[in-house]
């Protein structure tokens, strides 16, 4: 029996597939950068791709919401002309892990919510996603089982699972089907392949285990009780307010908007650039009043934006369990440890 939803790609054809795909489309995939760091970069061949990688320095959000992005162009040399603009390109992302796909799903919700953000949505429409399943934990920083993002759950065009000699590929959209067809190299999946996938997933259950002694459904309650927790004071002492944790977070999307004018002062553009609630000036207003002066309340805000506030608005947590914030924090602030401390605190104990 064949399954139209699934195809297989033998490993010996992987490089051919990537070469052929990169001839048809602009393609980005995880690339090794040294010192256990990876980044999504443009690739033309399979050899450049790191198939086994830990989450990249920046998540794929950089394609959906570029670090710098023009929103408006204006010219007042002769009267005033001002146009809202966006620049986009079609691109395929290969090798996106399930946690990062979840991050993109979160951002899609944010930017489709009224009033919509067309710049983001146009980027999103032009990006195709090829997912890649993790067979084991990337490292000790991940909490993807807790967040329930360690298994594929939509949000991709096609999805690769490594089953040893071959990849089994789930086809989820028309665009995904086109990728399969246009590149060739894929074979239809037989029931034996599907059985192998099923037994692989079963084995996976033994590898991925809840990382913390708490049920996902109880976390927002925990946060309801923890606003005044002493745990935040500890973070205050350690955090450097460098903003690494938010820049690397797949679901952080705060931005600043700035103007840049030309040297003749006749025309300019307005652009957005990633900003961070961890930085001192983020909530400061003219006259000097700052609504989040301490690193403590800024850290608390970050955690509440992952585990409490989005529950009201989007009915889901905005942590994907990717572990990037912990990995990139020089001060050693570790999300899993913070959660563990909250669970073990006197506020947590009330549960």
């Amino acid at each position: 029996m064949q399954d139209k939803q699934y195809a297989i790609l033998w490993k010996e054809n992987f490089n051919n597939f990537i070469s052929s795909l990169s001839k048809l489309h602009k393609l980005a995939a995880p690339v090794f950068k040294g010192y256990n760091n990876y980044a999504f970069e443009n690739v033309r061949s399979g050899q450049e791709i790191a198939l086994k990688y830990i989450p990249t320095i920046l998540p794929p959000k950089k394609f959906f919401m570029p670090v710098h992005e023009t929103l408006l162009e204006y010219d007042f040399s002769r009267g005033l002309k001002a146009d809202a603009v966006t620049e986009y390109e079609e691109i395929i992302l290969f090798g996106v892990h399930t946690c990062d796909i979840a991050g993109i799903q979160c951002l899609n919700m944010v930017f489709s919510e009224h009033p919509q953000d067309q710049n983001y949505l146009i980027h999103s429409q032009n990006i195709k996603i090829i997912g890649l399943e993790c067979n084991e934990y990337c490292d000790e920083f991940a909490n993807c089982h807790l967040m329930n993002t360690h298994l594929p759950d939509g949000g991709y065009d096609i999805f690769f699972t490594d089953l040893g000699d071959y990849f089994i590929v789930h086809i989820n959209t028309q665009a995904g089907e086109d990728i399969i067809k246009d590149t060739g190299f894929f074979m239809s999946a037989q029931s034996s392949h599907l059985n192998e996938l099923a037994s692989y997933r079963e084995k996976k259950q033994a590898i991925f285990k809840n990382e913390l002694p708490v049920e996902l459904d109880l976390i927002h309650d925990l946060f309801d009780r923890s606003f005044e927790s002493r745990i935040w004071d500890d973070l205050d002492e350690r955090c450097l307010a460098c903003g690494n944790c938010t820049n690397v977070c797949p679901t952080c999307y705060c931005f600043d908007i700035r103007d840049e004018i030309n040297l003749h002062l006749t025309a300019g553009k307005r652009y957005r650039v990633w900003d961070s609630c961890q930085l001192g000036p983020f909530a400061k207003v003219a006259g000097g009043k700052n609504f989040r002066t301490t690193r403590k309340v800024r850290q608390r805000h970050r955690y509440y934006r992952k585990f409490r506030y989005p529950m009201d608005r989007f009915s889901r947590y905005f942590c994907t369990g990717c572990g990037r914030c912990s990995r990139s924090c020089m001060a050693g602030i570790r999300l899993k440890e913070t959660l563990k401390s909250l669970i073990g605190s006197k506020e947590g104990a009330k549960a």
Binding site: K62, L240, W274, G280, P281, M330
Partner: protein
């Protein structure tokens, strides 16, 4: 109104920042299109000596003669820009303030040191009013261009008050701490687009320290990475010594 008249002046410094301007290439032509450079020792021999719209000051103030000279320039200039770390935060010259002045003079000039008057190194704003600052050693040209536009628009320019790490992460560099190397990015003010790290160097802290840095947190990190505290202290001192004059004035 004609083009604004601009002059560059150098005080105690290596003139590296002026060289940055001379080397800036195409954008320099655009700038020369909108301003009239009347004095610039690095590239021209004439002296102007008249009223200026914009004076660009490089270097720090280290002796009585310079104090008089900067005051004179201030008098005939509409806008005064402190340019480069030496001018804006004292920069490397501030290291002199670590020592007893007489000792330094003796070291540099030998037993005749009394004939060579010197002062504690001061940043330009510690002597005359500064309207705009372009920090950095050397200055980061795109930032200089932004400051120049702010001057021409008559709007303030403020240096970002957050860490170089912000820009460094946005550039997706591999963090120096992952390479096991100490970097001053976490406490240094951004605005240079993490220029040094992009080019494989660490951040040396040439742009001055962010407000309210977490000094205890920074110490903890250094000890965790086995980076000797003195090493970083020396690096911070290298550029930021003149900060003490401001702190004492407060």
């Amino acid at each position: 109104m004609g083009k604004p008249k601009v002059a560059f002046f150098d005080f105690a410094c290596c003139e590296g920042c002026q060289l940055q301007v001379a080397n800036m290439g195409e954008i320099l032509l655009d700038i020369l299109d909108i301003v009239d450079v009347v004095e610039f020792r690095e590239v021209m021999s004439e002296k102007w000596g008249g009223e200026l719209d914009i004076a660009i000051i490089e270097g720090s103030i280290t002796d009585e003669h310079s104090v008089e000279r900067i005051k004179e320039i201030r008098k005939r200039s509409g806008i005064l820009i402190a340019y480069g770390s030496c001018a804006t935060i004292g920069g490397v010259n501030g290291m002199k303030n670590n020592f007893d002045l007489d000792e330094i003079r003796e070291y540099v000039y030998g037993s005749d040191f009394h004939f060579f008057p010197t002062k504690k190194t001061m940043a330009v704003h510690q002597v005359v009013k500064v309207d705009y600052s372009v920090i950095g050693c050397p200055v980061y040209i795109p930032e200089f261009v932004e400051v120049l536009k702010a001057v021409l628009q008559d709007i303030p320019y403020s240096v970002p008050d957050y860490a170089v790490c912000v820009e460094c992460k946005q550039n997706e560099n591999v963090c120096m701490y992952d390479k096991g190397v100490g970097c001053l990015g976490p406490v240094t003010r951004a605005g240079c687009n993490s220029w040094c790290v992009n080019n494989g160097n660490i951040c040396y802290g040439c742009r001055g320290i962010v407000s309210g840095p977490n000094e205890k947190g920074a110490h903890d990190i250094l000890s965790k990475y086995n980076i000797p505290l003195d090493l970083i202290k020396n690096k911070i001192n290298m550029y930021n010594k003149c900060r003490e004059i401001d702190q004492n004035a407060q």
